[in-house]
């Protein structure tokens, strides 16, 4: 997707692009840098029957998609709300048997993504990694392969390609050259492992501004299909150097879903607001500005 020099689309257009695909990959870490505005847009656009390949730790980004009934299959590494507790929609759907959970782990998600990024059909892992654990028994996607160099049997992790990868950047230009400040760099492999890459960004900068600070570019634009300018687009998760995690909002979500009021939350914050600006109005701009202090 190198060609186009202007990849900027609207949030609604991006939502429709996501909703048209089935295997969705996310980066961000826990409650930081999740592409929440894109996720809300995808839900509004009718995303359904998704398979989610999350980052190694995820929180509301994945849980909201599950709460909205948009997810069939979830590649699990870790999902939770830290001090608040278990991810409520995930836990309810998994325990009710309405969600197919692939029992993954760090090597499974990271190396499956690396394999897809590099075009390796699979990655065999060191003998010690799965010994003594129940993971191979619980994850049918792990298979044994004979190392042709030693004759030993080792576990193989399959490539985990995605149809679409959605990411929230701190700065990106119209060509798709994107900067992620903070985090642990899962974005590049995630992008390379996906057919389509959509980026929401706090700041839409000029290509000249990209050239001025090229060492900060984590994903080159040729890998990117669409860019959406969405200030506060990670809310209620944090956007490094812009705003901190909205702990109170996470609790509102958590209590609503755990208390059986998920539809109230969805109505108020996801399907109700006409657009991102209306969502911000519902959150309250002064609350948003307050979060900047904690960036």
């Amino acid at each position: 997707m190198a060609g186009n020099q202007d990849k900027v689309v609207s949030l609604d257009q991006a939502g429709a692009m996501i909703a048209a695909r089935k295997i969705l990959s996310l980066a961000g870490s826990h409650s930081v840098n999740s592409p929440m505005a894109l996720i809300r847009a995808a839900i509004r656009a009718g995303a359904s029957a998704l398979s989610i390949i999350p980052p190694v730790t995820t929180s509301i980004a994945s849980d909201l998609l599950i709460a909205a009934g948009a997810v069939d299959t979830f590649y699990l590494c870790y999902i939770g709300f830290e001090t608040l507790g278990f991810a409520p929609a995930f836990r309810a759907a998994a325990e009710a048997g309405t969600l197919n959970v692939i029992e993954g782990d760090e090597p499974f998600v990271m190396l499956g993504t690396r394999a897809a990024a590099g075009g390796y059909p699979f990655i065999p892992v060191n003998k010690g990694v799965y010994e003594g654990t129940d993971l191979p028994r619980l994850n049918p996607m792990l298979k044994k392969v004979t190392d042709p160099f030693t004759g030993e049997e080792v576990y193989a992790i399959p490539a985990l390609p995605a149809d679409v990868c959605i990411l929230h950047a701190q700065a990106a230009d119209a060509q798709g050259n994107a900067q992620f400040w903070g985090g642990n760099n899962q974005e590049l492999d995630k992008a390379m492992a996906a057919d389509c890459v959509i980026i929401s960004t706090e700041r839409l900068i000029s290509v000249d501004a990209t050239r001025r600070d090229v060492e900060r570019v984590n994903i080159p634009g040729h890998m990117v299909d669409a860019v959406v300018h969405v200030p506060y687009g990670a809310h209620p998760t944090a956007s490094p150097e812009f705003y901190g995690t909205d702990e109170a909002h996470l609790k509102t979500y958590f209590d609503a879903v755990r208390g059986g009021n998920r539809d109230d939350y969805l109505d108020r914050f996801v399907t109700g607001p006409a657009d991102h600006e209306a969502y911000l109005g519902e959150v309250g701009l002064s609350a948003m500005f307050e979060l900047q202090k904690n960036a």
Binding site: S29, H30, S31, V32, P55, V56, T57, L76, C77, Y78, I79, G80, E82, T83, F86, A87, F90, R91, A94, E95, G97, V101, E103, G104, D105, E106, P107, M110, L111, R114, V125, N126, G128, V129, Y130, E131, G132, T133, D134, L135, L138, W181, G182, G183, N184, N185, Q186, D189, A238, P240, E241, G244, T245, E247, A295
Partner: protein, 273 residues
């Protein structure tokens, strides 16, 4: 039902006490490299406190924000908070973190579990049959690396019979497996099983040969019987079990002025029963 753990004093919170006890244990790791993962506010505080007290040459990796040896003095609630990387001497890619797990390059690390059993095995998967879990756990994250860590350390913010069980329903993080030589036999002799387990009411270690959970010290405000009553597995209990030495004034001073100025550890939830 679980109740809030009581540190037996108003001088410090239970999370502060645990952070201090965990920091002290890291003296043995001075100069070595380890890490803390997600939902790890107490281990983060412990590592930072250890650097400032007993382990000045400790190397530690701080979870999601990805900093090595950060120098925050405002403890973040999450290791993924970018502020957790303040003053780092390096950043690690998540792929490198996994690579180092697979190649056995982590010396130490803190891990917790939904369930922890008498041989220190960890379960983050769930409780019940896998196709119909009664409790769906949050997923294994990095607990699998307890198999390749040279010396894993365990902790739980909850001490209860449902957590400290005789046998975990699933092993997501291998401990001493079935005890005895089983870990060495299955995983190899390059790594050891869990060294210590920190809970809101005590510190436990493992016996030398059977590698079975043993009471090492009881926190102020609790006694042997409280530990036994709140533990769901067999426990080796020596005749004399010392009290966990309470935080010293100096430890609390450093903790509150150089690690956790915002007092995050004042309200971290820790429960008993």
């Amino acid at each position: 039902m679980a109740e809030q753990a009581d540190p037996g004093t108003t001088n410090y919170s239970m999370a502060e006490l645990m952070a201090v006890a965990m920091a002290r244990a890291l003296e043995a790791e001075d100069g070595n490299l380890g890490g803390v993962g997600a939902a790890a506010v107490v281990p983060m505080a412990a590592a930072r406190l250890a650097v400032l007290t007993v382990a000045p040459n400790l190397w530690w990796f701080c979870g999601g924000a990805s900093g090595l040896n950060p120098t925050f003095d405002n403890l973040p609630r999450s290791s993924a908070d970018p502020k957790a990387a303040v003053g780092s001497t390096g950043k690690k890619n998540m792929l490198d973190v996994v690579d180092m797990g697979a190649t056995g390059k982590w010396d130490w690390g803190f891990n917790g579990g939904l369930q922890i059993d008498k041989f220190g095995n960890i379960n983050m998967i769930g409780i019940g049959p896998h196709d119909k879990l009664k409790l769906r756990g949050p997923g294994t994250v990095g607990t699998i690396w307890t198999g390749t860590l040279k010396r894993p350390y365990l902790y739980s913010m909850h001490h209860a019979p449902r957590i400290l069980v005789d046998r975990v329903d699933y092993i997501s993080g291998p401990g001493w497996l079935d005890g005895g030589t089983s870990r060495a036999d299955v995983i190899g002799r390059d790594t050891l099983g869990p060294q210590l387990l920190f809970t809101p009411i005590c510190v436990l270690d493992f016996t030398e040969d059977a590698h079975q959970l043993r009471l090492k010290s009881v926190h102020p405000g609790y006694d042997k019987d409280a530990v036994i009553a709140n533990t769901g597995c067999e426990l080796v209990v020596p005749d004399k079990v010392p009290e966990t030495p309470p935080p010293t004034e100096q430890e609390l001073f450093v903790l509150r002025n150089h690690v956790d100025r915002d007092g995050v550890l004042k309200d971290v939830r820790a429960t008993v029963g």
